[in-house]
Amino acid sequence: MATYTLRVRRQKPAEDNDQALAEPYWEDFEVELDPTLSVLDGLLQAKDQQDGSLAVRCSCRAAICGSCGVKINGQSTLACKTQIGEAQEAADRKHPDVDAGGADVPRSNGNGNNVITVEPMGNMPVIKDLVTDMESTHWTKIRRVTPWLLDDGNPPERERIVPPESMVDITQTIACIQCGACVSSCLSMEADPDFIGPAALAKAYRFVGDPRDVDTEARLNDLAQDPHGIYDCTHCFSCVDACPKGVAPMDQIMRLRRLAGHDHDIDDRNNGRRHETAFVKIIEKKGTLDESLLLQESYAQGIKGKLKPSKAAIKGLLGSLPTAIRGIKTGKMRSLPKLIPGIHPKLPGDAQDHVKRIYKHAEEHREELNLYISGVEDDEPAEVGASAETTVENAEERRDS
C-alpha cells in the first residue's frame, strides 16, 4: 500500500444553465492503494470514499471495453491499464524538481511529492469531469468511413474462402476498442479538427484489408481525395504510443497510403502521394532530407534533384511561401541555409550505399506493419522509444516544409 495524490481536472455544468459548463478546476484526491493497482482503481476509490460526483466512464477494468480513456500526466491512455505506481514514476521523471515553479499546473502536493494528473481526453468537448462527448467527435468520424462490410450481395452457402493471413491481418484493427485515446493524442487533429483521424482510418483499413469487401478501390479513392484524409497524418507516432491495444493506427494509415498511392495508383488532388514520394526519392538520393528540394520534388516529380522547376512547381512553391514565412517568424524553421539548394551535405563514407541497400531490400520484401503477423512487440522497448522520437522530429520538420 502506498499513498498517491490524484490531481483531477474537473468541470461541472454551470449552476444556472445545464447546457453550459462552469470553469474547469483541479482537485486533489489522496488515495491509498497497492502500486500494482490502476489509476482507475484510484479514481474509483476517490469516488467511493470521498466524492461520488466525480464522473468517469468505466466498466470492464481490464482494457477491453474502452470506456476510461483519459490523459494521465498528459499522456492519453486508459485509466484501467495504467498502474498507479508507474504513473507516479512517470510523474516523478517528468518533474524531477517537484517544487520548481513555472509549470501551468502545480505539480507538488505540498508534501514534496509529485501529483499524478488526470484530465479528460483531448480533441473532444467535455461533458463533465473526465467524461467527454465522443459522439460528436469520435463516432461521427467513424461513421464517415462507411464502417461496415460492402459485399457483393450474394453470400455463398458456406463461408467465404479467404487467405488465413488476411483474417489475422485485419484482426489487428478489429482489436480496436474505440476508446478514443488515439484521437485524444492526435496532433494533426489539434491543427485540423476535420481530420478523419487515427481511429476512423484504422477502422477503414479493417475493410480495405478485408478480401471480402468489394469496394476497396472506391474506399481508397475516397480517403485519398478527402483533404482531411490519409495524407493529413504527419507521422508523429502519438496514436501508436497512446493505443492500449497495439492497433498502431498510424501504421494502418501508412498501409492505406501504400495501397492507395502505390498499389492502386491513385493520384490525389491533395498532392499527398507526390509529396510522400518526394521524401522517399530525396532520401534515396541524399540519405537525409534536403528540404530545398522537397517542394519542387513534390510538385514536379521526376527531376531527381536537378533544378528545373516547372510552372506547377513554381506555383506550388509560391503558394507555400506564407507557410514558410510563418515558420521562420515563429522560430520553427531555424536553419535558413537548409532552404538553399545544392549545399545539402552528403552522407559520410559509403553510408549512401547502405541507404540504397535498404531501399533495394524494401522493394524486394514487402514488410507489413502488423504485429499479429510478425508476432513480436516490445522486445526492445528502449529502441522502440528512440525510433519514435526520431520520427517525431521528422514529422516536425515535415510540417515546417
Binding site: G52, C65, Q178, G375
Partner: protein, 562 residues
C-alpha cells in the same frame, strides 16, 4: 414519448442481435443501453463460439456435450434448438464480416474448448466477443434508419398496462438526467448477468443484474439463480479473465509442487474438463495446502509455441503484462477460480418469452435454460445470438398482430420520485452506497462460491437482507442531473440486492450438488428429488419458491466424468 413496436434494453450481443432480427421483419425498433453499445460486456468473451459445423461433427454431439456439461439440468429442447441453429448463425456472422480464424485452406478453423468432445470452437484470436459485437454494431450503424439507438440511457423500471402486459420502460438519459417513458408493444431484456454481486468477479462494473431484477419486480419468475459459474482461470485479487482458450491451446494447470493435478480429477479431459470440475479441483488443491501462499495455482502457457501465443492469445499476453506483470510466454501465471457467469435468470421459453406477456429476455439475463448447472465455454456467445435472434423475431411477429396499449404515466412519476428521494437523502443519514456494495460482494464471494454449505448460505442470506434494509437510506454525494453516476449506482445496488437474495435462497433450498452448486453438506447429485428447476417469484416476504420440470428428450441423466 418514444414509441416502438419492439424496445430492446441492453446492447451487448443478445440485444444487438435481437434488434437487427426484429428490424429485418419491418417493425419499428429501438435499442437502449446504459453504456455505449460497444462498451457492453459481451466484449469480454475471449475464447470463441461453438457450432457443429465441421464435416465430422453433428449437432447431436454438441447438444450431448452441453447437456452433460449442464449436469443434466439444461432443458434439452432448448439445447437442441441452439445446437441445430448454431452453424447457420456462424455463417451469418461470417457473411456480415466477422474475421473468423481460417485454416490453411482458408476455411473456418477451430480450437479445442472445455467439456467438448470435438474441436468446434470458432474464434477471432482471443477477442471473439469483441469482434462479433463490433461487427453487429457496424450493422446497427448501417441500418440506423431502421433501428433507433439510445446510447447512454439507463432503464429504471419496466411498465405494465392494466392487463398486466409489459408495455414499455422508464428511461433516464444519463447525459442530462431527463426521465421519459418509452412506449412499446414488446420489450426484450438483454441486460446481461449479475456478476457484480460478487467481489472479485470477471464481470464488468455494469453487470449489476438490472434487467433480471426489473423483470422480477413486475412478476416474472426467475429460474436457477443459485447456478453461478466460477471460471477456473482468473487473476487473484483483480478477478481478470484468462481465456479457456489458453488451455484449449494446450496450457497446463500446475499446483505449487509443479504437479499437473488435473490427472487426479479428470484423467481423460485433464485441463479441458468442464469449468465446474476444474474450478473445484483447483479450489481443492488450494484448500488442501498444495496451492501457492497467495491462494492460487499456476497456469503454464509456456508450453504453447510462442508464435502461436502471439497470434491466438494476444489479449492474454497483454493482460499478463499489464495486470500481473508476467510475460506468459516465459513463465506461468498465478490464477484461481473466480466469479464469472450467471446461468440462472429470467425464465423464458425457447422464443425468449417470459411469463409476463410482451416481455422477452435473452442472453445472460435469461434462463431458457441451455446452461443448466454449468455452462460450457464458448456456449454463451452462441446463447446470446440464437436466443437474441429468436426473441427479436418472435417479438416482431407478435407486434404485427397487436396495437399499442394504454400506458399509465404513474410508473414514470414513481420513478422520478424514487430518484428524487435518493438524491434528497442527507450525507451521513445512513451508509454510503459503495460500502454496502463492497460488503455484499465480499459476503457472496465467501459463502456463495465454489463450495457451499447451509451455515454459510444462511449467513449470506441474513447479510443480504440486512443490506437491503440499509440500502433504503443509503446516501450519495451527487445531487446533479448531468452524468449523475452516483444515483444510478444507488439504483443498481437495489437490483443487485434483489438478485443476491434470489441466489442465496436458491442455493440454500437446493440440498444437493449439481454443476456449479456444490454443497459440502450434500455432496451428491440427487436426481430423484432435484432434477428440477427452482423458480422464484417475488412475494411480500422475499422470493416464493416453486418448481418446473427439466425437459428431457433424448439424453437420460447419467454419471458425469471427464
Amino acid at each position: 414519448m418514444p414509441r416502438h413496436d419492439v424496445l430492446v434494453i441492453g446492447a451487448g450481443l443478445a440485444g444487438q442481435r435481437a434488434a437487427l432480427a426484429a428490424a429485418e421483419l419491418g417493425v419499428s425498433v429501438a435499442i437502449v443501453s446504459k453504456v455505449h453499445p460497444v462498451r457492453s460486456h459481451s466484449n469480454a468473451a475471449q475464447g470463441g463460439i461453438n457450432a457443429a459445423l465441421g464435416e465430422n461433427d453433428t449437432w447431436e454431439s454438441h447438444a450431448f456435450d452441453t447437456v452433460k456439461g449442464s449436469d443434466y439440468l439444461g432443458d434439452q429442447d432448448a439445447i437442441s434448438i441452439m445446437c441445430k441453429e448454431a452453424p447457420e448463425e456462424i455463417l451469418h456472422l461470417e457473411h456480415l464480416g466477422v474475421p473468423f480464424h481460417r485454416n490453411a485452406e482458408g476455411k473456418l478453423g477451430t480450437r479445442a474448448f472445455g467439456g467438448a468432445s470435438q474441436a468446434r470452437t470458432y474464434y477471432v484470436a482471443d477477442i471473439t466477443g469483441q469482434a462479433i459485437m463490433h461487427v453487429l454494431y457496424e450493422q446497427l450503424m448501417k441500418y440506423s434508419d431502421k433501428v433507433d439507438r439510445y446510447e447512454e440511457y439507463f432503464t429504471t423500471a419496466l411498465a405494465l398496462d392494466d392487463n398486466g402486459h409489459c408495455c414499455g420502460a422508464v428511461m433516464r438519459n444519463v447525459r442530462d438526467g431527463s426521465m421519459e417513458l418509452f412506449e412499446a408493444k414488446n420489450v426484450i431484456l438483454a441486460t446481461g448477468g449479475n456478476g457484480q454481486i460478487w467481489r472479485p468477479t470477471t464481470n464488468a462494473l455494469i453487470c449489476t443484474g438490472d434487467g433480471i431484477a426489473q423483470a422480477y419486480r413486475i412478476g416474472a419468475p426467475l429460474m436457477d439463480m443459485e447456478m453461478i459459474q466460477y471460471h477456473p482461470t482468473t487473476l487473484a485479487g483483480k478477478g481478470f479473465l484468462i481465456t479457456e482458450g489458453a488451455r484449449g491451446e494446450g496450457a497446463h494447470l500446475l499446483n505449487a509442487k509443479g504437479e499437473r493435478f488435473m490427472e487426479k480429477y479428470a484423467p481423460n479431459k485433464m485441463e479441458l474438463a468442464s469449468r465446474d470440475v476444474v474450478s473445484r479441483a483447483e479450489q481443492t488443491e488450494i484448500n488442501e495446502g498444495r496451492g501457492f501462499p497467495d491462494g492460487t495455482v499456476a497456469l503454464d502457457i509456456t508450453v504453447v509455441p510462442k508464435k502461436r501465443i502471439h497470434e491466438a492469445l494476444r489479449e492474454i499476453v497483454l493482460v499478463g503484462r499489464d495486470f500481473a506483470g508476467v510475460d506468459i510466454t516465459r513463465e506461468p501465471i498465478r490464477i484461481k477460480p473466480g466469479n464469472h457467469y450467471t446461468m440462472g435468470g429470467v425464465k423464458t421459453d425457447t422464443d425468449g418469452a417470459t411469463e409476463v406477456p410482451g416481455l422477452y429476455a435473452a442472453g445472460e439475463c435469461a434462463c431458457v435454460s441451455v446452461h443448466g448447472g454449468n455452462r460450457l465455454g464458448a456456449n454463451s456467445l452462441l446463447d446470446t445470438l440464437i436466443f437474441g435472434r429468436r426473441a427479436g423475431v418472435h417479438a416482431a411477429t407478435r407486434a404485427k398482430g397487436i396495437g399499442f396499449s394504454r400506458v399509465s404515466k404513474a410508473v414514470l412519476t414513481d420513478e422520478e420520485r424514487q430518484i428524487e428521494s435518493i438524491i434528497g437523502r442527507e450525507r451521513g443519514s445512513g451508509r454510503r452506497v459503495s460500502e454496502i456494495r463492497k460488503e455484499l460482494g465480499e459476503t457472496m464471494d465467501k459463502y456463495v462460491a465454489v463450495f457451499r454449505d447451509e451455515e454459510g448460505l444462511t449467513k449470506a442470506l441474513e447479510t443480504v437482507r440486512r443490506l437491503k434494509e440499509e440500502a433504503k437510506d443509503a446516501y450519495i454525494d451527487d445531487k446533479g442531473t448531468v452524468f449523475n453516476q452516483d444515483v444510478l449506482g444507488a439504483l443498481e445496488l437495489g437490483y443487485m440486492l434483489d438478485c443476491a437474495e434470489c441466489a442465496c435462497v436458491g442455493a440454500l433450498h437446493r440440498t444437493e450438488s449439481r454443476g456449479a452448486q456444490f454443497r459440502t453438506d450434500y455432496p451428491e447429485r440427487n436426481d430423484e428429488e432435484w432434477l428440477k428447476h427452482i423458480n422464484l417469484r417475488r412475494g411480500d416476504d422475499g422470493p416464493e419458491i416453486s418448481y418446473s420440470e427439466v425437459t428431457i428428450t433424448e439424453w437420460q441423466p447419467a454419471e458425469r466424468t471427464y
